[in-house]
């Protein structure tokens, strides 16, 4: 029954237009047909999704109140984001043959989170009739920066060892962290969260036809684009990254989700919320962290971290990971309450 449950979730996920449009863009890219959106559109669709998800989260918080129980997921998220890069760095250094700077850059991506994966998981949960706490949006936002700071610290430890400056100059590091914390996605996400919280159900009535009704359709269009970009990167660069690194992109999400499952076990949170935290743990950033690494670690090879997080882990999570994490959360956390 558990296995059939997983299958049914996976089937539901694979049968969802959202995932099918992702596959369309991805497979077309592998066949060298580029379905990506023009950049101004891609950026704006992303901004729209931030705005919508933030606003909905804020209205959710206004509805149900934000109690002290919300502190626990926030703390767990931040702690995970800070600690997971250390594990990832060790694994990459041991098994993937990456240099210090590249390993630090990649590890930062996996400690941080992918908001698109998060959105996709929310949609899958919504399709199943499950809804998570609004605070999860704030948790997602809070999980972006710690991993960047730790990643830069990991890179900079090489400085003293080797003499040469493997890590970033302090000024660069400071600016990059500011960039990551204050990048426009995060600000829109948190700003919309605040606005949703302030305006509550009344605000929601006002702009529901914009932020709720077309949301899933817009997500389809966006995942068409993301699939196209992920597939293009994979097609162009698969030979540029070694097998050990590719494997990292497949097992690391599982490790992250498993650790997070343990961490959230005792806390007071809906099964959907716990599933989303597992998704956040499993996902790898491709907005904030690549930008921060580009700035602070210009000598890290962007081909490696971009291809890995966007070309490997993102498709893996969309197709395999999300149904799996939800099924596990269902089994572990919903079992008792049913």
């Amino acid at each position: 029954m558990e296995f059939s449950n997983l299958l049914s979730i996976a089937g539901g996920t694979l049968g969802s237009p959202v995932v099918l449009f992702f596959l369309l863009g991805f497979l077309a890219a592998l066949a060298r047909v580029d379905l990506s959106l023009p950049q101004p559109i891609a950026k704006t669709v992303a901004l729209y999704l931030m705005l919508a998800i933030g606003f909905k989260g804020g209205v959710g918080m206004a509805d149900s109140g934000v109690g002290p129980a919300s502190i626990a997921p926030l703390l767990i998220g931040v702690a995970f984001s800070a600690a997971f890069p250390i594990l990832g760095f060790a694994a990459l250094r041991a098994a993937s043959g990456l240099g210090r700077t590249d390993a630090a850059a990649v590890a930062a991506h996996y400690g941080s989170i992918s908001i698109v994966t998060f959105l996709t998981a929310i949609q899958v949960l919504t399709d199943r009739g499950e809804q998570a706490e609004g605070i999860l949006v704030a948790v997602a936002a809070a999980m972006e920066a710690p991993a960047i700071i730790v990643g830069l610290w990991l890179a900079s430890r090489g400085r003293s060892e080797t003499g040469a400056a493997a890590g970033p100059a302090p000024e660069e590091a400071r600016l990059s962290v500011r960039e990551a914390v204050l990048n426009s996605s995060v600000v829109v996400l948190l700003g919309a969260l605040a606005i949703g919280w302030i305006t509550g159900e009344k605000g929601m009535t006002d702009i529901k036809p914009f932020v709720v009704d077309p949301f899933k359709g817009v997500l389809c269009l966006f995942l068409l684009d993301m699939g196209a970009v992920a597939g293009r990167g994979l097609a162009q660069n698969r030979r540029a990254i070694g097998t050990g690194t590719v494997l990292f992109g497949l097992y690391m999400p599982l490790v992250g989700a498993a650790l997070m499952a343990l961490a959230v076990w005792p806390i007071d949170l809906s099964p959907a919320g716990k599933a989303l935290l597992m998704v956040l743990a499993a996902s790898a950033s491709y907005i904030a962290v690549p930008a921060a690494m580009r700035l602070a670690l210009p000598k890290a090879n962007p081909v490696i971290y971009t291809t890995l997080s966007l070309g490997i882990t993102f498709p893996f999570n969309v197709i395999v990971g999300i149904p799996l994490y939800i099924a596990i959360a269902d089994r572990l956390f919903a079992g008792g309450s049913q």
């Binding site: 959106l37 196209a228 690549p290 962007p302 971009t306």
Partner: protein, 108 residues
């Protein structure tokens, strides 16, 4: 009668740089003596030692470059080039220098 269109030699810099670094390069240029302005042109894509890239479909600014076009007087060339090269050399980017003529020399 001398031609009304007398032109004066100046130096043109073309700087290709990651777009994320453009604000900082701009701040640098604004402080350099001899730089009275610069112009930023969008870049659509390219190919180099690190492979091919394109702007299409990107949601983040992480990938993507811009071209900076800057006209200056020859007397500042050496110093400006030194500062800019230091900045660009630490990251992905290119600089070329060439000679141009302008009509209003006092602008630069």
């Amino acid at each position: 009668m001398r031609s009304a269109m007398e032109t004066h030699p100046k130096v043109r810099l073309d700087i290709l740089i990651e777009q994320l670094a453009v604000p900082r390069l701009g701040t640098l240029l604004d402080t350099l003596p001899g730089v009275n302005g610069y112009t930023i042109l969008p870049v659509q894509g390219g190919s180099g030692l690190n492979g091919i890239w394109t702007r299409d479909g990107q949601i983040a600014g992480a990938e993507g470059m811009m071209m900076i076009w800057c006209i200056l007087d020859a007397q500042h060339k050496e110093a400006v080039l030194k500062s800019v090269f230091e900045f660009v050399n630490a990251r992905a980017g290119l600089i070329t220098v060439s000679n141009v003529d302008v009509v209003r020399p006092e602008r630069f």
